[in-house]
C-alpha cells in the first residue's frame, strides 16, 4: 500500500461507506452468527457455544424414507425461486426489450415504467384481499368459466395454492427484472444492431447473438434481485398460500415470534449461506464488475 496523497484521499472517500456497512451490515451479521450458537429460555439468551441449534434444524434429515422439514421447506422455496426466476426473466426481458427498442420517446418510457410499479402501491394484505374476488371460489374467473359452461364446479387451485403464490411473486417482482435489463439494453450501441442486420442476420439471430449477450449483466443483476427476494420472502407465500405453504422465512418468523432467537439465527445463517452460494454461481457465469 502506498501512502501517496492520491491513495490517501481514495481511502478517505471510501471510509464513510465502509463504516456504514461495517456498522449496519457486517456487525449485525456477526451478531446473528454468534447468537446462533447460544441457548435460550423463554425469556433470556444464554451465551454458549454449541451446535445444538444447527443440529435441531436438520433433525430427522438422516432419515431417507421421508424428507425432513428443513429439506422440504428449502425444496419448496427453491422451487418457487426457480419458477419465479424463469417467468420474471421471460416477461421482464420482453417488457424491457419493448421499452428499450420499440418505445421511442422518453416520456412514454417513463409513463410505462411507472405503470410497472403499480403492484407496489398497496399493502400485501390488501393485495391478497383483492386477489380473492378474482381467483376465489366465488370469484370472477370461476364465475366466468361456470357461466360459459366450461366447468361444472369451481376450480379450487386458483387461490391458496402454489399457482397463486407464483402468480403473486411474478406480479410483484417482474419489475426487479425489467429495470436492470432495460438499463443494459439502453447501453447497447444501436450501430451493432444495424451492423447485424446489414450482415444479413435475422431478427432472432440478432436477438440471440447480439442483444442477449450484451444484456447479460442486467439479466444477472435482475436474477440476483429476484432470487434473494423470493428466498427470504414469507409474507407473500403466507397470504397467497393461505399460510399452508412453508417457506424458510416463515420458519424464522415463527421462531422470532416465539422469542426463540438462537434457532432463528441458526436458520438465518443457513439461509444466508444458501443464497450466497446461488449468487456465487451466478456471478461466476458473468463477471458483473467487468461488464459494468
Amino acid at each position: 500500500m502506498s501512502s501517496s496523497p492520491r491513495s490517501l484521499s481514495a481511502w478517505a472517500q471510501a471510509t464513510p461507506f465502509t463504516l456504514v456497512f461495517a456498522l449496519f451490515l457486517v456487525l449485525p451479521l456477526v451478531l446473528v452468527a454468534v447468537v446462533s450458537t447460544w441457548h435460550a429460555s423463554d425469556y433470556e439468551l444464554i451465551p454458549a457455544f454449541s451446535a445444538q441449534n444447527y443440529i435441531d434444524v436438520f433433525k430427522g434429515c438422516a432419515n431417507t424414507g421421508e424428507l425432513c422439514v428443513t429439506l422440504k421447506t428449502y425444496l419448496s422455496t427453491l422451487k418457487f425461486c426457480f419458477l419465479v426466476w424463469a417467468i420474471t426473466l421471460l416477461i421482464g426481458f420482453a417488457v424491457a426489450y419493448f421499452l428499450a427498442f420499440h418505445v421511442r420517446s422518453v416520456g412514454a418510457q417513463t409513463l410505462l415504467f411507472i405503470l410497472c410499479t403499480v403492484p407496489f402501491w398497496t399493502s400485501n394484505v390488501i393485495r391478497m384481499i383483492s386477489w380473492v374476488p378474482l381467483l376465489g371460489r366465488n370469484g370472477l374467473i370461476n364465475q366466468g368459466l361456470q357461466g360459459l359452461g366450461l366447468i361444472d364446479s369451481p376450480i379450487e387451485w386458483l387461490l391458496f395454492s402454489n399457482f397463486s403464490v407464483v402468480l403473486a411473486f411474478v406480479h410483484l417482482y417482474t419489475m426487479f427484472m425489467i429495470v436492470p435489463i432495460f438499463n443494459s439494453m439502453m447501453r447497447i450501441d444501436r450501430a451493432l444492431i444495424e451492423a447485424a442486420r446489414d450482415g444479413g442476420a435475422s431478427g432472432w439471430q440478432t436477438l440471440w447473438n447480439v442483444v442477449i449477450p450484451l444484456s447479460k449483466p442486467g439479466i444477472v443483476i435482475g436474477s440476483i434481485f429476484v432470487i434473494t427476494v423470493v428466498m427470504g420472502d414469507f409474507v407473500t407465500v403466507g397470504v397467497m398460500g393461505g399460510q399452508q405453504i412453508a417457506s424458510v422465512g416463515k420458519v424464522i418468523n415463527t421462531q422470532m415470534g416465539a422469542l426463540q432467537f438462537p434457532p432463528a439465527a441458526a436458520n438465518s445463517v443457513i439461509l444466508l449461506v444458501a443464497v450466497l452460494a446461488i449468487i456465487a454461481v451466478l456471478t461466476r457465469l458473468v463477471d458483473i464488475r467487468k461488464e459494468l
Binding site: 435460550a40 423463554d42 425469556y43 433470556e44 435441531d56 422439514v69 422440504k72 421447506t73 419448496s76 394484505v125 391478497m128 384481499i129 380473492v132 374476488p133 376465489g136 371460489r137 366465488n138 379450487e156 387461490l159 391458496f160 403466507g238 397470504v239 393461505g242 399460510q243 399452508q244 405453504i245 412453508a246 416463515k250 420458519v251 415463527t254 421462531q255 422470532m256 415470534g257 416465539a258 422469542l259 426463540q260 434457532p263
Partner: protein, 421 residues
C-alpha cells in the same frame, strides 16, 4: 379548570410572550399545557381505540400515544426494550415470558380505586361463585406477586397485581350458518370431512395449538390433563392430527391476520374456522350471516391487562396510575362491552351503559331496540340475542386459557412441521 382561563395561549411561544408581558403569576396556570405528559401505550390494536384516548385526554389532559404491534411483538418489546413504552397492554399468558426478566413492576392495588371490584374471574377464577376451567395460563395463576420487583408469581392474593385486566373474552368457532345449514355443537366439526377445503385454523402457534387440542379432545382421541401445558407426546399427537387433516385437504387456509379471517369468512372461502369475536362482528356488519358458535366442550378464553414497566417513575408513573384508574372507572368499560368484549369492573361499566344495552350484552336477553356499535354501526336488530347468552353462561363455559407451555420451543418446532407438511 385552570387551563381553560385563556384557551388562546397554548403554545410555548405565546406562553413566553405572555409571561414576559404580564406577571409570572399569570403564566403559572399554563404549566400543564406547556409541559403535557404523553404516555406511550404498547399493545395490540384491539383496545387501542381512538375514542378512548380522546376521552381520556378530555378528562385529564394526559395524551395517549398508541404503539400498536402484534401479540408476539408486544412480548418481544417487553422482554427486549422495556424503556420503549410507559404502559403495556399484554395478554396474561405472555407474563410467563415477561415477568422473569424483571421488566415489569407489580401494581400497587392500594393505588387502584376499584381494585377490589375487579371481577372474580381474575382474582379467584370464579364466575357467579362457580369455578371455571383453569387449564392453560388462567389469570388467577399469574395475577399476583409478593413484592413489586418480584420475578416469580405468588400463589395467594397479595397487594401487588402483575396486570390490571382491561378486556377478556371467550373464543370459539365462527361459522356461516347460511352455508352450513345445520346446527354445529362440537369443536370436532372443525375437522369434519364434510367441510373439506372449507375450514381454517389460525396460524399463531400458541393459540392454534389450543384450538387443535379442543378438537382432538372433542373427537375423543385424547383427554389432556392440561391442554395449556402438554407433554411432548401430547404435542406430537395434536400436530399429527392436524397434519393428517391438512394432507387430506381439510383446510382452505390458515390465517394470521384478523382481516384475513374476516375476508375468508365473508367471501365464503371458509364456512367454519377459529375466529375472534370482533371478526365475527366485522363479517356481520357487511350484512353476511356469521355466528360465534357456542360449543358443548366450552370456550378457549383469553385476557389482557395493563402492566407498568419498571422504567417509569415520578410524574409519569402517577399518570400511568391515573390512566388505569380512569380505565376502570366505567366509560372505557362500557365502550369495550359495546364491542362485544368484557370489562374488568362490571359495575362501573353498567352505570355508563343504557339498561337495554346491558340486558343485551351482559344478561343475554333479547334486544328491546337495535344494538349499535360505539361508532354507530348496526350490530343486531331489535329482538335478537347475543351468541353464547349471558356473561355467566359464556364466561362460565371456559374450558381453557391461552397459554405458554413448558415445552413451548418444541411446540413451535412441531407447528412449523405442520405448516410445512
Amino acid at each position: 379548570m385552570s387551563d381553560t382561563t385563556n384557551p388562546k395561549t397554548l403554545s410555548r411561544r405565546s406562553l413566553i410572550k405572555g409571561a414576559a408581558a404580564a406577571t409570572g403569576a399569570m403564566a403559572f396556570p399554563y404549566v400543564r399545557a406547556a409541559d403535557p405528559i404523553t404516555l406511550r401505550y404498547l399493545g395490540t390494536a384491539v383496545n387501542q381505540d381512538k375514542a378512548i384516548a380522546e376521552k381520556f385526554k378530555a378528562d385529564t389532559g394526559i395524551e395517549i400515544q398508541y404503539i400498536p404491534v402484534t401479540t408476539d411483538d408486544v412480548t418481544k418489546r417487553a422482554v427486549t426494550a422495556p424503556n420503549s413504552f410507559d404502559l403495556i397492554d399484554t395478554e396474561y399468558f405472555s407474563l410467563k415470558k415477561i415477568l422473569p426478566t424483571g421488566n415489569l413492576l407489580g401494581i400497587d392495588t392500594k393505588r387502584i380505586k376499584n381494585a377490589d371490584k375487579i371481577t372474580t374471574l381474575f382474582t379467584k377464577g370464579e364466575v357467579g361463585g362457580k369455578k371455571v376451567g383453569d387449564q392453560g395460563t388462567a389469570p388467577k395463576k399469574v395475577m399476583y406477586v409478593d413484592k413489586p420487583d418480584s420475578k416469580t408469581f405468588s400463589a395467594a392474593p397479595t397487594q401487588f397485581m402483575t396486570l390490571i385486566p382491561t378486556v377478556y373474552n371467550a373464543d370459539t368457532l365462527g361459522i356461516r350458518p347460511d352455508l352450513i345449514k345445520r346446527p354445529i355443537e362440537s369443536w370436532k366439526e372443525l375437522l369434519n370431512p364434510e367441510f373439506k377445503g372449507k375450514s381454517a385454523i389460525l396460524n399463531i402457534p400458541s393459540i392454534g395449538i389450543m384450538d387443535a387440542a379442543m378438537v382432538v379432545e372433542a373427537s375423543g382421541l385424547h383427554k389432556y390433563p392440561d391442554k395449556g401445558n402438554m407433554t411432548k407426546a401430547e404435542i406430537d399427537l395434536t400436530i399429527k392430527t392436524l397434519i393428517e387433516a391438512k394432507k387430506a385437504g381439510q383446510f382452505r387456509a390458515l390465517w394470521k391476520d384478523f382481516n384475513e379471517s374476516v375476508n375468508l369468512m365473508a367471501s365464503g372461502e371458509v364456512v367454519i374456522q377459529s375466529m375472534w369475536s370482533p371478526a365475527v362482528t366485522a363479517v356481520r356488519t357487511k350484512g353476511i350471516a356469521c355466528t360465534f358458535q357456542p360449543l358443548k366442550e366450552g370456550y378457549r378464553a383469553w385476557a389482557a391487562g395493563f402492566g407498568v414497566p419498571k422504567t417509569v417513575s415520578g410524574k409519569k408513573a402517577d399518570a400511568v396510575y391515573e390512566f388505569i384508574n380512569w380505565f376502570l372507572d366505567g366509560w372505557a368499560g362500557a365502550y369495550l362491552n359495546r364491542q362485544g368484549y368484557y370489562s374488568a369492573v362490571l359495575e362501573t361499566a353498567k352505570a355508563k351503559m343504557e339498561a337495554y344495552e346491558w340486558a343485551y350484552w351482559m344478561e343475554g336477553k333479547p334486544a328491546t331496540q337495535d344494538i349499535k356499535s360505539p361508532n354507530g354501526d348496526l350490530l343486531a336488530k331489535a329482538g335478537s340475542l347475543r351468541d353464547g347468552g349471558s356473561y355467566e353462561q359464556r364466561m362460565g363455559g371456559i374450558a381453557c386459557w391461552n397459554a405458554i407451555m413448558d415445552e413451548n420451543a418444541y411446540m413451535v418446532q412441531k407447528w412449523n412441521e405442520f405448516v410445512a407438511a
